[in-house]
């Protein structure tokens, strides 16, 4: 779904969300309450510049609209794969973005992520995955990398990975797998505004993803192993 269409479904025709290149931002009104929207589009690669642009809006929201909820609209091909960005400390810029979002949460801003197109690895860790909860549209795609590239790097047989990905959500791209592993709290299907309204009310503040993954059967060990560490003599 393109972002304009999404914004109209969520916030109506006069949504006030603006694109600056691949960067989306705006203060919108959702059912009479103000909401900060931050996002990217065109499968934007997240480089230093785009990470800082997002962080700026989070900082401004904290300063000017204390407690105002923040919605992150996610469409990224992952981190910018450039030497220049590495030199400039892209990991630091992304950590900064993540820490801004995290601090906003701690200061009472409800932060939700929505993968409306695609989400990949680095670009996802400091957006949807650092929010209170992350949601996705059913047609969205989430992955670390494509199977052929994964096969090349791990030197595993692509046919084997393909076969594995059918039986084990750990390997395969797809929002359903992320739901079953707890990484995505739920899919938003049909009444998107209704789904957002619900999420603003009932998204957890604590990190429940490991427990969700265990309950849904997609990630059996994470919660259990972490608990064993807590219990160990």
């Amino acid at each position: 779904m393109n972002w304009q269409h999404l914004a109209e479904q969520l916030f109506g025709n006069q949504h006030g969300l603006r694109a600056d290149g691949d960067f989306l931002a705006g203060s919108v009104s959702f059912e009479g309450r103000p909401l900060t929207v931050i996002g990217t589009t065109n499968h934007a690669p997240i480089g230093v510049r785009l990470a800082l642009a997002q962080a700026r809006v989070v900082l401004d929201t904290m300063a000017q609209q204390p407690g105002q909820p923040i919605l992150l609209l996610i469409d990224t091909q992952g981190q910018q794969l450039r030497r220049r960005d590495e030199l400039l400390g892209i990991n630091r810029a992304m950590a900064h973005l993540g820490m801004c979002i995290d601090l906003a949460r701690r200061r009472g801003h409800r932060v939700l992520g929505l993968v409306y197109d695609q989400a990949l690895s680095g670009g996802f860790i400091t957006s949807g995955l650092i929010a209170d909860a992350c949601y996705a549209l059913p047609e969205a795609e989430i992955r670390v990398m494509r199977l052929p590239a994964m096969a090349r790097i791990t030197k595993l047989d692509p046919a084997l990975l393909e076969a594995m990905s059918r039986s084990n959500p750990v390997f395969a791209p797809g929002v359903a797998n992320y739901v079953s592993m707890g990484g995505v709290r739920a899919l938003w299907d049909g009444d998107l505004a209704g789904a957002l309204r619900q999420a603003l009310v009932d998204s957890p503040i604590e990190d429940q993803r490991a427990r969700d993954g265990a309950a849904r059967g997609g990630r059996q060990l994470a919660a259990r192993v972490a608990q064993r560490v807590l219990d160990a003599a």
Binding site: R84, D102, L103, L129, M145
Partner: protein
């Protein structure tokens, strides 16, 4: 002098912390291993590539995790990540009345373990949140980076979420590996075989000069130990003011570096812009000399 880079994860623990003080949780004999590897023809490791536990550092209680880079490049999988999360939570929740003075993460990781990609990605994000939870509770988190694999991918982000980062000059801290960038944008963009270029872009000296790490040390276990002891009290609350300061710094840095510079001059140009005297000679200088170059 014992090379930190050459040590295994368990050797680092043994050498860095007070002798004999390490008490391991979920040790190898408990066989808490990855369930995802065997079907891919990859053997598992009895500790899933990370040793965690409680120890003493200069007599003070610390929690420590050491990643083993030789196993799957130190990649974070479901179990590996859960051990890190459990360690950080244990520091925070303190169920046994043993609250540590710090959590030390001896990073040696390429980031997400691709063999369990989705679980690894979520796990890294859980580690990141757990690090920030610990910090919010006033427990300092220290990253030590000086291994052969360095600290890349999601772990490169998590490292920058810590209170304090110690690096050696052979350590590397970055996001994408040079091989990945070369594969995606060509050898002209990043020649992964040009190790000098790789280290100018990601290595400890550069991270020191640009302020991306807080301490620069020699590739020596004792030097890492001394730096960790010195950093024990270094708690840095995450506040709006601190993040605004960080934002100004990063935004200003972005302006220092013109686009599309050649790899031969790019790093030196940035160092000059940052006010580093003698920028051209950095590659040939030793750690002591480079330490003195960082602008105040």
């Amino acid at each position: 002098m014992i090379s930190y880079a050459e040590c295994s994860a368990r050797e680092r623990i043994a050498q860095l912390l007070d002798a004999g003080s390490f008490h391991e949780w979920l040790p190898p004999a408990e066989r808490v291993t990855s369930p995802h590897l065997a079907q891919l023809g990859v053997p598992s490791a009895f500790d899933d590539g990370v040793a965690i536990g409680r120890a003493r550092l200069d007599g003070r209680t610390v929690f420590v995790a050491a990643q083993e880079g030789a196993f799957m490049g130190g990649g974070v999988g479901e179990v590996h990540g859960a051990k890190l999360v459990g360690l950080l939570r244990r520091a925070l929740l303190d169920p046994h009345g043993e609250r540590p003075d710090a959590v030390l993460l001896l990073a040696d990781s390429g980031g997400v373990r691709l063999h369990e990609a989705n679980a690894g990605l979520i796990a890294v994000s859980e580690v990141m949140r757990a690090v920030l939870d610990a910090r919010a509770a006033g427990i300092p988190v220290l990253f030590l980076i000086g291994s052969a694999n360095g600290c890349f991918g999601g772990m490169g982000i998590v490292a920058r979420c810590a209170d304090h980062v110690v690096m050696s000059d052979v350590g590397r801290l970055a996001m994408s590996g040079p091989e990945v960038i070369e594969a995606s944008h060509g050898v002209e963009e990043f020649d992964a075989r040009d190790r000098a270029l790789v280290w100018r872009t990601t290595g400890g000296k550069h991270r020191w000069l640009s302020g991306d790490c807080d301490t620069l040390v020699e590739d020596d276990v004792q030097a890492f130990r001394d730096a960790a002891i010195a950093a024990l009290g270094d708690t840095r609350p995450v506040t709006v003011q601190a993040l605004e300061h960080e934002h100004r710094l990063l935004a200003a840095r972005l302006q220092l570096l013109p686009e599309a510079l050649d790899g031969d001059i790019e790093a030196v140009t940035l160092w000059r812009g940052l006010g580093v005297a003698d920028a051209a000679r950095v590659s040939s200088l030793d750690v002591d000399a480079v330490r003195a170059l960082r602008p105040a």
